[in-house]
């Protein structure tokens, strides 16, 4: 039952490069999450020791899912963070509501990459595996954007 749900997000992940929309036309229903990833980017970090990643996980399914961890061959560790009032807080999971989305954005929730093997440079991409409680794994290639990239303007 879970296999088809995993295939769609995987295709979505391949397309997730730019700010574009995936997962349209899905007719999945029946009490399970149906996830796709869009709008992913990593601002080019100052050094290889630390970077942030942002993305939107859309859930067209009838059940919520939870992002429980993230791994990447490019970094020693990737953790989930929430920012509130200038303070960061590590969290062990983030919820993707049914028929809703989880938005990781600058100034808010984000992925934190520690000790990258090399400093990501604009134009490259960083591979990550998103691990979900129900939907299994999603692979995403996160494109590296300029340090000042603003998704609202696209530059």
């Amino acid at each position: 039952m879970r296999r088809p749900a995993a295939v769609i997000p995987l295709a979505a992940a391949v397309l997730a490069g730019a700010v574009l929309l995936t997962g349209c036309g899905s007719t999945e229903s029946g009490g399970k999450p149906d996830l796709s990833v869009t709008s992913s980017y990593m601002p080019q970090p100052v050094t290889a020791s630390l970077a942030a990643g942002f993305l939107t996980i859309e859930n067209k399914g009838d059940a919520a899912d939870q992002l429980t961890s993230v791994t990447s061959d490019a970094a020693a560790s990737v953790t989930l963070h929430r920012t509130e009032g200038g303070a960061m807080e590590e969290v062990d999971r983030l919820t993707v509501p049914a028929h809703g989305r989880l938005v990781l954005r600058s100034g808010g929730d984000h992925l934190m990459f520690d000790h990258l093997k090399s400093k990501p440079v604009e134009g490259q991409s960083v591979p990550v595996d998103l691990h979900f409680a129900t939907s299994g794994d999603l692979k995403v290639e996160i494109p590296v954007k300029p340090a000042t990239y603003n998704p609202a303007t696209g530059h």
Binding site: V19, L21, G23, C24, G25, T38, S39, P43, P45, V46, T47, L50, A51, A52, T56, E58, K60, H81, R82, T83, E84, G85, G86, A87, M88, E89, E90, V91, R93, L94, T95, P97, H99, G100, R101, L102, V103, L104, R105, S106, G107, G108, D109, H110, M112, F113, A147, T148, N150, P151, A152, T153, G154
Partner: protein, 220 residues
């Protein structure tokens, strides 16, 4: 409990996400949210807040990235000066803010670039030694000034600008957690007072537009 706070925060993030070009393919969820997004955009049209009651420049004597004593008031007197409180182990807002300023600065004529003082004061002095701070700032703009020193001195200085910071603490996993300010304060070269404040949503374009005015001590 956790689920509820996550949802609340996700909704807030959506609101703030402004013109993120993501649509729901007509699935009809989140009805009403786009309206809120539009009004948010209009409300925050201008990045700068000109203060009715300007701030005095904090009387901070700290250590710069060369390990030398740096008297903020003395060193920046009569100079257009931007001050931000942050830390280098900050993945998101601190480097974004400093990079926004660095890119905007490059659009100024060379003489004005040399005139401008951009001061990054660490909120995490234990980790941000002069060396650490120096190598981080060189990766952003070699003209930027980095200051470190005693935390309580830094905290008191930030407080005079209405910026609340807390010492670095360990979270439940033993990881160090620091706090950054949420504002850039611009000081006039004419009065040496902090007269304009920018929130963390200020973009390269906002700063690019405003810096020529700030250099002259004019209102943006």
């Amino acid at each position: 409990m956790r689920t509820r706070s996550t949802r609340t925060f996700a909704a807030a993030a959506l609101l703030a996400a402004g013109a993120l070009t993501l649509t729901a393919c007509g699935s009809g969820d989140d009805s009403g949210k786009p309206v809120a997004v539009v009004s948010e955009e209009v409300a925050s049209d201008k990045a700068a807040t000109v203060l009715d009651q300007p701030f005095e420049k904090p009387d901070l004597v700290l250590t710069d990235t060369h390990g030398k004593k740096y008297d903020l008031r003395k060193e920046t007197a009569g100079r257009p000066t931007l001050i931000y409180f942050g830390y280098t182990h900050c993945p998101d807002v601190c480097p974004l803010t400093m990079n926004n300023l660095a890119v905007a600065k490059k659009s100024l004529p060379k003489a004005e670039q040399d005139e401008l003082r951009v001061v990054f004061v660490t909120t995490d002095p234990d980790r941000d030694t002069p060396e650490e701070l120096g190598s981080w700032l060189r990766g952003i703009d070699p003209q930027f000034i980095g200051l470190t020193g005693d935390f309580s001195t830094i905290q008191a200085g930030a407080r005079t600008l209405g910026i609340a910071i807390e010492p670095t603490t360990k979270d439940k996993n033993g990881k160090l957690v620091s706090v950054h300010g949420t504002q850039v304060v611009a000081f006039s070269p004419k009065t040496d007072e902090g007269y304009v404040v920018y929130g963390e949503d200020a973009t390269v374009d906002d700063y690019t537009k405003d810096l020529p005015k700030l250099i002259e001590g004019q209102n943006p």
